[in-house]
């Protein structure tokens, strides 16, 4: 395995600590935002869900790019790693819709047999 130069090493250390700060800020924002939103807003929850989902994608981006070194890998390799997530996202959307439909149908069928 190739060894690093001192310059790369120092830059690497700085990148790691900078990323740690980013991740900490994002996590604190998520938790405080969650608690505050639920305290002050009674009703629609989708803006909060969108926010925390987006923040989790931000965290995944930084962890993968800096901690897992993906930012330094060959672009073709990165594509083979990221492309399967298309299927995962597709499945999340479909199965959530499925669950929602079950909910609607169950409510409408309530009282038919019992």
């Amino acid at each position: 395995m190739d060894h690093m130069s001192q310059g790369e090493y120092q830059q690497g250390k700085k990148d790691v600590y900078r990323t740690t700060i980013i991740l900490s800020i994002v996590t604190v924002a998520e938790v405080l935002g969650s608690i505050a939103y639920e305290h002050f807003v009674d009703g629609t929850r989708w803006p909060l869900m969108l926010f925390v989902t987006a923040m989790s994608i931000v965290k995944a981006y930084w962890i993968m790019k800096v901690f897992m070194h993906v930012g330094h890998e060959r672009k073709g390799f990165v594509f083979t790693l990221l492309f399967p997530f298309v299927f995962l996202v597709w499945a999340i959307i479909c199965f959530s819709a499925e669950g929602s439909h079950i909910h609607v149908m169950r409510d409408s069928l309530n009282g038919i047999f019992f």
């Binding site: 395995m1 690093m4 600590y17 996590t27 969650s34 639920e38 993968m64 901690f67 959530s96 499925e98």
Partner: protein, 227 residues
Amino acid sequence: MSAESKEGYQVHEWESLKGPFNASYGKVMMWYFLISDTFIFGAFLIAYATARMANVSTWPMASEVFNTLPGLTGHGYPLVFVSFMTFVLIISSVTMVRAVQEGHMMNKMGVVKFLIPTILMGLTFLGCQYLEWTHLIHEGMTMWHTPFHPAGSEIGSNQFGMFFFTITGFHGLHVITGVSINIWLLVETLKGRFEVLGNYGMVEKVGLFWHFVDLVWVYVFLAYYLL
């Protein structure tokens, strides 16, 4: 015909010692294993999403279920303990990355210096998860029953307990595996195995697994506690 052998290993003429994508075979293998493991966790979380959407009106609210701290009475600490657990795992990922970087510089004691806090924080996370589990079981939540949903509501929201213990349990199994492998790695580093081998690639591969464990927790935390 065989090419130059490296340390006695016979290399076939069409075999290369370099891996694909300019990375080692081991690293690429670890990455593809992690992608497959992502789909396993993904399957669990998607099933959770389906069950939750099907029972969205009666699903227990996370900030009302997870609002205690071990050792303290009262329910005024929404999401505090689990946020602490999230921080512990993220910081353990930071120390793991530093261990990998020290490995790049062939700095044996540097690797040791950063593997130890990684292991300790992994054990801390497991201890916290143990406290969380025993507390919830004590409050009446098991695999087959959730006492937190409104009385007389759908049987479906009882699944809260089942999904919680299955998903966090499967993740906890990964943390146990990761901690065990890290302990092995620490022992091998101290024995000087990687100095003899000439590279600390193993630290990087184990590091990838550890970061995966951290990332999965970020998404379990999101799905169960925040959404």
